[in-house]
Symmetry: C2
Subunit: 206 residues, 2 copies
């Protein structure tokens, strides 16, 4: 029979997707999002252009999906540590976030995505659901545990506190208004949950 | 004599600039940044295309400059009130900021600019210097006065506190993660300078 078994087709299509994802990320890093073409991604991935268009509507969609898939593969890092010290734990999270945004290849990729989602609302929704939401949820969960043990005032809203932690980091990155270094990460955490009276009593003030 | 006096030329060029600025803003609002062309701006402003290219290098540059000029014309609003209550004053500032970002025409314009500055670093620098810095400076100045009268702990860094106020607002706007309403503005202020122990003693907790 000329037909292949579904399991083979599915395995082959999984391999093609991975190759396309990798090609899209590599090319975006190498030549910048503006200069990437669907043709170049197809050539690098060793597939036909029509294979890409069968799964994605545009260059933006494929680069974006590649970024999301890469992030989901790294999703194991989203389980926030709970050492009992919310300030120390969140400093770790924000230091990682800041370091990732400062890394040149990732910076270029994220800027390409950020430009794209300004005029593509569906992609923006995907960024939020697949990229941002898991991070925010993990932070909120950690803040709730801190609240239960009295390291965050009962009146504080963990969802807003999470925005106070993430917002300044992305804003500084977006507009390049200052260094993205561990000192900045620590300072944001200390001013949000570490200042005496708002955060844990045993953490030092700024 | 065939030449005009310099003062006339300068007045005429000022009028042309204003017309170009207005045309650039109106067209961006009407058809979106992607669909605006330098030709259309020139036609709407009643000038030749070459007049625009004499002053600006690209569509992005002219739309952007128009936005900045409009903002500078409204710069009188940057003097923050000092009613003696830093929470009330900052709630006012953030409510205005949130309302401006939520306004549809301004939202579209700001998204066009945000997309543009992801790959144009010089324009990004101009946004920061001409658009963001005056707002941040005004907030920092207000926070310093609050610190002098004991409404902000001596250990707090007003520059970081300003980022905690502005960052979450822009991040929520950028990714559309929640409503941009007065309740959100108030909540950000209350969690940053209004929570007991961190902000003024006489302001209510969230």
């Amino acid at each position: 029979m000329a037909t292949t078994r579904p399991v083979d087709a599915s395995r082959r299509s999984g391999r093609a997707r991975s190759a396309i994802h990798r090609a899209a990320l590599d090319l975006t890093t190498e030549v910048g999002f503006t200069n990437v073409t669907v043709e170049a991604i197809a050539a690098r991935a060793g597939v036909g252009k029509q294979t890409i268009y069968r799964w994605w509507s545009s260059k933006g969609a494929v680069v974006f999906d590649a970024l999301l898939a890469a992030n989901e593969n790294a999703a194991g890092t989203l389980d926030l540590p709970d050492t009992g010290d919310v300030v120390a734990d969140l400093r770790g999270v924000l230091r990682t976030m800041v370091a990732e945004l400062a890394e040149p290849a990732n910076d270029r990729l994220q800027r390409a995505v950020t430009a794209e989602i300004q005029h593509d609302r569906a992609l923006a929704g995907e960024v939020v659901e697949r990229l941002l939401r898991p991070q925010v949820d993990a932070i909120v969960a950690r803040l709730r545990r801190a609240q239960e043990v009295g390291q965050l005032p009962p009146a504080a809203d963990p969802a807003i506190v999470a925005e106070l932690l993430i917002g300044p980091v992305f804003h500084r990155w977006l507009l390049r208004t200052g260094p993205l270094d561990p000192a900045f990460a620590d300072s944001v955490v200390d001013h949000t949950v570490g200042t005496p009276g708002l955060g844990s009593a045993d953490s030092a003030a700024v």
